[in-house]
Amino acid sequence: MHELSIAQNIMDIVNEQLSVNNLSRVTKIGMRIGKLAAIEPASLKFCFEIIARDTKAEGAVLEIDSVPIRYRCNDCQLDFILDELDFICPNCMRNRLEIISGRELQVVEMEAY
């Protein structure tokens, strides 16, 4: 629901990296977004496209790698992936689970010149 402010945050990171590396244009931005991050990739791309207009990021591609939800069971130590947020361990059927990935919201790579 807050894709626009996230797009603005991405823009800030891009600008910072361009200036640190003395570059003038970004063409691709690689991201990792967890399934639990409450961010809709299509909507984020749309918002970013609008924000990037007339900037050093105009036309840059947002490449989004979706990160699945991974759990670790605190009872039997099983490490597993589920597509949904379900809180039952498939091995021991208990529910003391820790979310170890799926909440990511990261910029991990940029292509720039």
Binding site: N9, N21, L23, A38, L85, R96, V108, M110, E111, Y113
Partner: protein, 217 residues
């Protein structure tokens, strides 16, 4: 050229939240982030809690809404310090908004600071504010399936307040099922069943709050 970086987009928010947390800790203020869908009863619960407790503990409130000062006016009438944040469209409070709001509060006299988040069961769970605990309110008219549909918020909260139990005769909500679904997602949840209308269950909540504050001094 390729630039490899790993930058958390919410890192800036987390850093500011950490600053808020340290400030609260230094002042000895217990901070609760109240989250629910619109209309579950956050402001009503605050009004009740303030009336019952303000002679025993110092209370402050930050009200978050997309627009209007209506909730801050309701709290102001109860005679405690309150700051309204208008997010201007944003679906959640963030740490910066809270850090600006606390500049307007004298935390030295505040033992408990309640932050009423924007009514929304999804986004507020993503943004740390520097709170000690997240408190979720669900009214029974919303149905027993909500923990399964909005699991992250139930997972992140330490407390679940089930409100409007006076409406049980008029709703088909199965409250045992609601408890079960909630505990399945978060076995550590402290659950309170209350009615702000009849007052049922409120005493247990007040005593729990007093104990929480007492434990910090």
């Amino acid at each position: 050229m390729k630039i490899g970086i790993v930058k958390d987009i919410l890192e800036a928010n987390d850093m500011i939240a950490e600053g808020n947390r340290r400030l609260f800790k230094g002042k000895g203020t217990l901070v609760m982030n109240l989250m629910s869908s619109p209309g579950a009863g956050k402001t009503t619960l605050l009004e009740k809690s303030i009336s019952a407790l303000k002679d025993r503990v110092g209370i402050g409130v930050i009200e978050g809404d997309i627009q209007t000062e209506l909730d801050a006016e309701r709290i102001h009438k109860k005679g405690v310090e309150v700051v309204q944040i208008n997010t201007g469209g944003a679906c959640h409070l963030d740490a910066t908004m809270v850090s600006q709001a606390i500049e307007k509060l004298d935390l030295t006299n505040i033992d408990i600071l309640f932050i009423e988040n924007v009514g929304n069961l999804v986004c507020p769970a993503e943004f740390r504010l520097g709170e000690d605990m997240k408190v979720m309110i669900l009214s029974i008219a919303e149905g027993e399936d909500k923990p399964l549909k909005y699991p992250l918020m139930f997972h992140e909260s330490q407390v679940l307040i089930i409100n409007k139990i006076d409406l049980l005769p008029y709703c088909d909500c199965d409250i045992m099922r609601l408890r079960e679904n909630s505990l399945k997602i978060n076995p550590n949840l402290n659950i309170f069943e209350i009615s702000c209308k009849t007052g049922r269950g409120l005493d247990v909540w007040y005593e729990w709050l007093i104990k929480k504050v007492g434990g910090r001094h």
